[in-house]
Amino acid sequence: MSSTEKFRSEFRTWLRSGLTGEFAALKGRGGPGREHEAFAERLAWERHMAAAGWTCIGWPQEYGGRGATLEEQVAFHEEYALADAPARVGHIGEQLLGPTLIAFGTDGQRDRFLPGIRSVEELWCQGYSEPDAGSDLANVRTRAERDADGWSVTGQKIWTSLAHESQWCFLVARTGPGTHRHEGLSYLLVPMDQPGVEVRPITQLTGTSEFNEVFFDAARTGADNVVGEPGDGWRVAMATLGFERGVSTLGQQVGFRRELEELIALARRNGAAGDPLIRDRLARAWTGLEIIRFNALRMLDGAAAGAPGPEASISKIYWATWHRELGELAMDVCGADGMLADGAPYDLGDWQRLFLFSRADTIYAGSNEIQRNIIAERVLGLPKEARA
């Protein structure tokens, strides 16, 4: 048995015995568009995973991880999805901030923050987007000023996932006067539980809420809580985005496969499978799923496996578009039934939620258009867009 297979079977065995008792009911709960589901119970489950050493497995051992190889991490994500285990709650800290601190943080920052991420005692949110800085992230307006005992942060963030559950936020803010675009930004770690921070949930198209507006009004954080040099935040923020487009997406095709299989079962039950066009689209979806997997395997095999380059944009565009089309197909399979919600207050079924929320896949973590710009300019070498 290869070491990856050993790892896989060890995790599978643990999952099988772990997802029982009080946790059994958590199967299939949570995930994009459904983050509100059983949040407290999912948090408890994730702490249970942490206690057994199954969080942050890709981190080096010296920082509390297992130093798992990429193959092992993929196996981990696959097994997790195969077990129908609940959607993770600590992924932002584990997959975005953790690797950033390991790469750019000070020893003090790593000692202070990594254990809390690993044990899932502290949840994190990502404060990048602002009302005037979405795709154009360099347009950030939030300011941070250095004074005698730390930083004072003022500004507004938006679309901040899970800010209402998080103890900490990593954000980019302008430091120092006269800074412009990519210059003079700093990457700060800010506690959420303080008078200067207000979180207002935003209701999404599903009727539920998992992202927020966050207002900082002279919010405080310690002098030590800047990652990288002050003014060098853009480089750090970009590295975090690289992690966002990396390994964590490699295991997701298992969940996609489950969705497609359930959709086929529904099509068989309700007769939609008798429609030749639906058959063709189901087969096309399945073809795309295989390609998602082969794309992921190639990314793993590639020289750039450690840090996905612009090629990661291929994966992002492909899977996001695929998932959105699956949502549309699901509605066509549901037929007229898809018009009706389960009941008040706006209780949508799983297929409706997939249909609606998969529209977000082509927007967050760099919209399809932004990914296309990256491919066109950095991979195909086409001339740059004129930018302000």
């Binding site: 499978a273 008798g274 189901l282 073809t287 295989e290 395997l297 090629e311 291929i314 066109a376 195909l380």
Partner: protein
């Protein structure tokens, strides 16, 4: 799914050879200098003992150059049919490239084994075949003719010796001039049985053929994209390169995603073939349908983004566009392959209960 150094060397060798020998003239050097025809033939039958991954590399390069050589018809279809049937006598000459082979297989525009109507009857003087075969790659000129025909006990594969009486070969003018096809008519033609298990042989050959063709489509699509990117970087309109317009950039970025995802599908199939995976059929259907659609789309973009030049006979764009059409239909259309997938995935056609409109 990673190529090794030896694959890169093979790629470089094939690419530079195709640059030096244009058109059909490449076949001689390809077989003599590189041993291309025998790459996937075991050493004991005169080949190099390599497999589907090496075939993949060669096909990608042939696709890039749209080389009109009988590699697919002879080195893939005929050779792999003989290997699958376990009849090895003809292999050394095919592997060396001294002879070329053709597999007469499709009928009435279909490559599905069920579509075969040609009949083989065994009399006192041996087997005799009667029937009509379409779309036989290199069928007008091939030395070795292999024919799929139905016997009383099922589908089987036959070898029609060269010079046999009762064979009529009609060469066609193909829309894609770089891939010759013929219709072959057999009328009580003398034949030798080379394998009885025709369903298995044809199914396996189809998987390998689709896998190889998918690689060719990726190579050709990649070349279309390269040429188009080069063009839009040079061509200036409104005082700037047309490639700086986002409508053009995004179209090419999408083309890139298509080509690379098609490549993933083709590599997946080639590696499955190399590993002898039981899932090869599935992956071959995925690869053939995805690569056909990717190549067709990218070849179409190539014409569009070349403007008026793209509509001329002079420019290569139409050759890629025509090859894209031809190879999308060859061995079954993308929708046809998805139908095979649906068969497994969803169940037999017409089985689902009708749903009220």
């Amino acid at each position: 799914m990673r190529f090794g150094e030896e694959h890169q060397e093979l790629r470089t060798a094939v690419r530079s050879l195709l640059a030096r020998h244009e058109g059909a003239a490449a076949w001689g050097p390809l077989t003599r200098q590189i041993g291309a025809a025998g790459l996937a033939v075991p050493e004991e039958h005169g080949g190099a003992g390599c497999g589907p991954v090496e075939v993949h590399v060669v096909m990608e390069e042939l696709g890039r150059a749209l080389a009109p050589v009988p590699y697919l018809g002879s080195a893939v279809l005929a050779t792999q049919a003989l290997l699958a049937a376990g009849d090895t006598g003809l292999l050394p000459a095919l592997a060396e490239g001294r002879t070329t082979g053709a597999l007469a297989w499709a009928e009435n525009g279909s490559w599905r084994p069920e579509a075969v109507r040609a009949r083989a009857v065994c009399g006192a003087d041996g087997w005799r075949i009667t029937g009509v075969k379409d779309h036989v790659l290199d069928g007008a000129d091939a030395d070795v003719l292999l024919v799929a025909a139905r016997t009383e006990t099922g589908l089987a594969l036959f070898h029609v010796p060269s010079g046999a009486a009762g064979v009529e070969r009609e060469a066609h003018t193909t829309m894609d001039l770089t891939r010759p096809q013929a219709t072959l008519r057999f009328d009580g033609t003398e034949a030798r049985a080379v394998g009885a298990d025709g369903d298995r042989v044809l199914a396996h050959v189809r998987d390998l053929a689709c896998t190889a063709l998918a690689a060719e489509q990726v190579g050709a699509a990649e070349r279309c994209l390269e040429l188009t990117v080069a063009h839009v970087r040079d061509r200036v309109q409104f005082g700037r390169p047309v490639g700086s317009f986002q409508a053009v950039k995004h179209r090419l970025a999408d083309a890139f995603v298509r080509v690379e995802s098609a490549r993933s599908a083709a590599l997946g199939a080639s590696w499955a073939a190399a590993d002898g995976s039981p899932d090869l059929s599935r992956y071959a259907a995925v690869a053939k349908s995805a690569c056909s659609e990717a190549f067709s789309a990218v070849a179409g973009d190539m014409i569009q983004l070349h403007g008026g030049i793209g509509i001329t006979w002079e420019h290569d764009a139409h050759r890629y566009f025509k090859r894209a059409h031809g190879s999308a239909q060859l061995f079954g259309s993308p929708a046809g392959h998805r139908d095979r997938i649906a068969e497994v995935l969803v169940g037999p056609r017409g089985a689902g209960a009708e749903r009220p409109a």
